[in-house]
Symmetry: C2
Subunit: 215 residues, 2 copies
Amino acid sequence: MRYSKEHKSETHARIVKKASVKLRERGAHGIGVADLMKDAGLTHGGFYAHFASREALVIEAFAYAMDRSTARWRKKAEEIPLDQRFAAIVDAYLTPLHRDDPGNGCAVPALAAEIAREGVKTRRAFSAKLEQMIDMMAEQIPGRSRKAAREQAMASLATMVGTMILSRAGGGGELSDDILAAGRSALLDRQPLAKPTAKKRAPKTTKTTASRAPN
Amino acid sequence: MRYSKEHKSETHARIVKKASVKLRERGAHGIGVADLMKDAGLTHGGFYAHFASREALVIEAFAYAMDRSTARWRKKAEEIPLDQRFAAIVDAYLTPLHRDDPGNGCAVPALAAEIAREGVKTRRAFSAKLEQMIDMMAEQIPGRSRKAAREQAMASLATMVGTMILSRAGGGGELSDDILAAGRSALLDRQPLAKPTAKKRAPKTTKTTASRAPN
DNA sequence: TGTACATCAGTGAACGCGCGTTCACTGATGTAC
DNA sequence: TGTACATCAGTGAACGCGCGTTCACTGATGTAC
C-alpha cells in the first residue's frame, strides 16, 4: 500500500470532521462534494473510496457532531456538583459565542429541520443520536423520576434549540440578543432549577478566551 | 390586455400561496421554479413576469405564511378570555396535526434555520415578521410589564418552535410523541400560566375534524 | 360600429452552470520470490 | 538483499442531469381612429 496502515481511516476521519463543520455552517445541502474534499486537502474524485454517497457522509458527519456534543456535555457535567450540572450546560449552550459559530456548535439547531425532510436512513440516524442526547441531559437532572427527568430534558432541549434558531435567524441585532437572553432566563431563572436562595447566581459565561463554540 | 384587470395580481397571489405551502414542506431550496409554477397551473417561463428572482418569491411566500399565522392566532385570541389566550395558542400549536402537516403550519420551525443562512434581504424580511409574531404573542400574556411579556413570548415561542422541530425530526414514532407532550406540558402545566386552582384544565385539542394544521 | 394596432400574461425551447457520480489512470509502497 | 509485480488511495477529466434564468413568440383583449 502506498500509505501506512492507518492512513485511510485517518483521511476518512478528517473528511468527516471537516465536513461536519461546513455542513453545520452551510446546511445539509449548502456545500458540494468537491468543496468538502478540498476542505480536507483532497480532490473530489477520491470521495467514493471513502463514502458510498454524499448522503452517507452527511449521516456520518452529523453523527460525529452529535457524539462530540453529547460527550463534551457529559464530561463537563462530571466536573460539577450534581445540582449545578443542568444549569451549567444551559449556560454554555445559550451564548453569543455558540450562536455566532454554528460550525463548531450543536448540530441540532443547525440541521434538524433539514434532516426531518431527508430519507428514512438519515432520519433514523438522527433520532438515534437525539435520543442519546436527551438521555444524557436527563442524567443531569436530579431529584426526579426517570420519566420526569426525561420529560424535562426534552422540553429544555426544545427551548435551547428553539432559542438558538430564533436568535440566529433574528438578524444579528438587538432582537437576536433579546431572544437569547429570554431563553436563558426561562431555563435558568426559574425556581425548580436554581436554588431558591441563590436565584440570581446562575453561572456566568467565563471562558472569554474561547474562540470556538464548544457545543 | 388579455385578462381582466385583477388577473395578474390574482395569479401572483396564487403562486405565492401555493409556493408558501410547498416551501414549508420541502424547505427553501427543496423545490424548483418549474415545479412551483406547475403547482399554480402555469409554466416556468412566466415566472419572471411576477418575480425578480426565485429568492424574491421565497421572501414573499415566507412573509405570506408568517402574516397568516400571526393573523390567525390574533383572531383566535380575540374570541377567548384574556387569561386563556396564551394557553389556547400553545394548545393549538403543539399538536400532532401541526407536526405532521408542515405545509400548512407555522413557517418558523419549517424555514427559520435555513433562512438564517440566506442573504441579508431574506434575513431582514424574516426578522421583521418574527418581531410581529413575538409582539402578537406578548399581547396575549396578561398581568406583566410590556418587557416581561415580550420576554416570555420569546421564550415560549422558542420552546414551541424547538419542540416542533425536534418532534418532526424525531422519526415519527414514540420519541416524536414524547417530545411533543414534553413541550406541551412545559408550557401549559406550569403555575404562572394556568390558574393555580385549575392546573390540570389545560384546553384540550378539540378540532378533530380539521384536516389541516392552521398555524 | 368596425378595423388595425398595441399590449402583455403566459408558453416552451434554449442557455449556462454546478452538481453528484463514474472512470481510466498514477505512483508510492508492500509483498512474493 | 535485490527485483518484479500487485495494491489501492488519490487524481482529474468527463458524464448526465436539473436548476435558475433568458428570450422569441403567441394570442386574446383593450384602445385608437
